[in-house]
Symmetry: C2
Subunit: 548 residues, 2 copies
């Protein structure tokens, strides 16, 4: 028993307990000690919004694994309400309440903390939303609040606003940037915004918060930095999070500029004997190959297993991450995976729209996909998906395809499960791959909605849709045309000299076909609007026509 | 115009029209001619069951793309009601109605035909179920039939029986083999059977059909080959299909023993200028590397695109297939991908059970997974999945993982979309990978339910579940034990000399942990029941205890 190692885990919530459990599975003899500042050991951060929405009957359901569970199942000593003030990597001790606790291996799972924008501070009626204490405070406030505000239009803010809408509250979501999810693809972000608005959330973008105004101690409004006021009586702040890594920094660990801990493939930090896991670390991104700080539960859980294994002498490896995110925004589901659009330099972008299941069945809903691939290798780099049904499946397939290094040609051929209630024989994922492969093979050129919008002076737009569809909504300056007319008399297009004909269809399919026809008839530079009018509208670009 | 090529496509339904469309997208100048025996050009075979169930309002919804669609959109000449009697590859002609039609390229999409078991023939009250004419005949019969029978317990038979149950009919499903889906994993097949029974279908296995008995011209019963009679008044035969490739065979094309056409990566047959696609071909299997005849709509559609492209001079490639199948059986969804169990020689098998979404939300349903991997490389070879919700997503992720050549370690790390309404932070797919990786790394040994059942004389079973769970259902001869007792006094197990202790838990997780504890305490050969009692019961193995 002399050689029994002591593993100390810092941090509860998701990662710390998962790391402790995996350490036990790896080394049955070790002494394992879990220290957590708060009163609860293990709780689901991602579940907070589900409790706020009323979908989870009781907050206790989020807090189901008590200290006794970890003691009985994993023989882990759990101490809650313990604040560690120092890590001494040389002596291999942590200090808590003035006492030094020795370790052979330390697993740091500090998580992230909410960053309050300048002018906002935690206080009466102004709350973070990261743990059970925050949840209790917000729920108490909602007993009287009529108009809750959420500050921050990233994933956490959207989840909170969505939850408030589900609860029936009349919420307002405030985001500093010109749009929600500012680092995401524009169309996916727009889908989230439409979803929230349709669910009754007021969405204010381009609205930086300067402060909060109170009356008799009660929140009365948010003050924006342009002087506007947003009436509200409760504020949930989700504007940003930062890794809680001050203890590691003080001990001399190497951090990234974001404050996230750089770890190797075994979750080792730069300090000997000190491992890190959870939302405070930056694993390598599968596509970019660079450290990526992605504070997400699934990555936290995975890294916890690696850190727990490694700290106990096991061999698990962290591998890479993709940054897959899946969100509800009202009736919409919005998701992404892979590098961010700004990181996908030179990527070719494909836009498709297809049904979630066989359209001959009721309940088929459109799935919208934007995929980015490397034009040289054809490899998938990123994907966005949104819709009402089946979005979670498509983003997982695309993430898995990316993990396997699949090309768009592989995607076109992917042998997915087909049964009419669940999919079409040619899934939207297959279609996205096929369209991307066709463009890559040089069969047709496409222009993105933004390109068509920006270059309209050098283009001639031809609309292949029906007169009824054109009456409903059309791009200014576009002219009607049919495939039959195009085949019979391409000269009838009357393309002005120097302009490139661009074919507009509902989803891009007929546009593609029109390009094939036009190319064979003397228009080698013809292109189609990628994703058709559906993508144009998804990007929020203007149309003429009847009001919807 | 002298060099304009003529592409003739033989066969409607799904593959022929898809091939014609892709040929047009590839060569805008070609003359494209589609010949189909039946009266409809394009219809969804997979949709027949959805119409039978009543979910599709009208059979016309399955037949939405008429000849006019292909003419207007794709400039394809469609001729229905045309029976081709001969292919002459030397002269490059097909013969129909005594006239020779010349081609430069021929795309053969003959599909499959129903094979009636000896003693059964198509006739009044006895119908195949492959096309719209069959559907109309069955629907006419169901106006008076009280007791429809489905002959054949493969995927098509299960879909038909499921559809009859959804329609409210009191159906009986008859299968010659000792179980449904005889080539599938036993537990997945059992799930399909349970699903159908719960939906009110009577399932008779080990029941070979010898004939049909009629009274006054009306079907009265099926006669089984053991002399039993199954009362019924309508018979749907789905017992088998065979490629309709007689025309190709007569022309000298190379076929497989199954009658399926061997094609290369461009869907070329052994006859010059003759391509084949659809359910009659045998592409290469991604895992086995051998030709696999898998008559499925998604593969048919994919090969049609390749044949259409290739026949028109394009460069698409077929790649490999996985044989992904997805089925409803009452409330259950049952799915598989990869090689069949008999083809997965030497594979390690992992069984896990996890929730479809976060269990703190209502509506979380168990997902059951069986994955097979190569013990040397760790690569995934096959997967079965069943459950009530989210099965389609998991099988698609597993299929995509297989297409990317992922190992079980990769699967454990897969960065899937996590949001409580759609998944858990550690998805069952991740868990399956992690358990397989742990066994592969030698951290613990597992025994399958069948192995535990067969070797019970050399094992000592210890049950880690609660007394209440044991009262409900337990394996005969198993003894209760707790992890705490195992840790405190492993001698108290009292393992009989020469026996291997095997730990039984609910889903396998605690069993795994018990093996880790036991190994550290002098039981190096300890093992756990893979998938726990849940897998034991999923395989239909006997338990003692209270009746459910």
């Amino acid at each position: 028993m002399a050689s029994r190692r002591t593993i100390v885990v810092l941090g509860g919530a998701l990662a710390g307990p998962a790391a402790a459990a995996r350490a036990r599975e790896t080394d049955e003899r070790a002494r394992i000690l879990l220290l957590e500042r708060a009163g609860s050991v293990s709780y689901a951060v991602a579940g907070l919004a589900c409790r706020l929405s009323g979908e989870v009957a009781s907050a206790a359901d989020l807090d189901s694994r008590k200290a006794a569970y970890f003691r009985d199942l994993y023989d882990v000593e759990v101490r809650t309400g313990v604040e560690v003030t120092r890590i001494d990597p040389r002596r291999r001790t942590v200090t808590a309440g003035g006492r030094a606790i020795p370790f052979d291996a330390l697993i740091f799972a500090g998580g992230v903390g909410t960053v309050f924008p300048a002018g906002l501070a935690e206080g009466p009626g102004v709350h973070a939303f990261r743990n059970l204490a925050d949840l209790h405070a917000v729920e108490a406030g909602l007993r009287t609040a009529r108009r809750p505000a959420v500050v921050g239009g990233g994933p956490f803010g959207i989840e909170a606003a969505d939850a408030l809408a589900r609860r029936g509250a009349s919420a307002v979501l405030v985001e500093r940037a010109p749009r929600l999810l500012p680092s995401w693809a524009r169309a996916a972000a727009a889908a989230a915004e439409r979803g929230l608005r349709a669910a009754g959330v007021e969405v204010l973008t381009g609205a930086g918060v300067a402060g909060v105004e109170r009356r008799k101690g009660h929140v009365e409004s948010l003050l924006l930095d342009d002087g506007r006021r947003v009436p509200c009586d409760l504020v949930i702040v989700t504007a940003g999070v930062a890794p809680r890594t001050a203890l590691l920094a003080a001990a001399g660990a190497r951090l990234l500029p974001s404050g996230a801990v750089r770890v190797d493939d075994r979750c080792r930090t730069s300090l000997p004997g000190v491992f890190a896991c959870g939302t405070c670390i930056a694993p390598l991104h599968a596509v970019s190959g660079r450290p990526a700080w992605l504070p997400q539960a699934a990555i936290a859980d995975r890294s916890a297993q690696v850190a727990g294994s490694a700290a106990a002498g096991g061999g698990e490896r962290l591998g890479t991450v993709l940054g897959t995110v899946l969100l509800r925004a009202g009736a919409a589901t919005v998701a992404r995976t892979g590098v961010l659009p700004v990181e996908a330099h030179g990527a070719l972008v494909t836009r498709v729209h297809g049904p979630s299941r066989d359209p001959f069945l009721p309940g088929a809903e459109p799935i919208h996909l934007v995929i980015r691939h490397d034009p040289r290798s054809g490899r998938l780099l990123a994907a966005d998906a949104w819709g009402v049904a089946g979005v979670d499946k498509r983003i997982d397939v695309l993430a898995t395809a990316m993990a396997g290094g699949l090309s768009v040609e592989d995607l076109a051929r992917l042998d997915l499960g087909y049964s009419p209630p669940f999919a079409t024989a040619r899934d939207p994922v297959n279609v996205a791959g096929a369209v991307a492969a066709a463009v890559r093979a040089g069969l047709a050129s496409s222009l993105s909605p933004a390109e068509v919008n920006a270059r309209s002076g050098s283009l001639a737009l031809y609309d292949l849709r029906t007169p009824a569809e054109r009456r409903e909504a059309r791009i200014a300056g576009s002219r009607p045309v049919t495939l039959a007319a195009l085949r019979a008399d391409p000269g009838s297009l009357g393309v002005p000299r120097g302009r490139i004909p661009v074919f507009v269809s509902r989803h891009g399919k007929r546009g593609y076909l029109a390009v094939r026809i036009a190319r064979a008839r003397g228009f080698p530079r013809a292109a189609f609007l990628a994703g058709g009018i559906a993508s144009w509208r998804a990007e929020g670009l203007p149309v003429e026509g009847r009001k919807p």
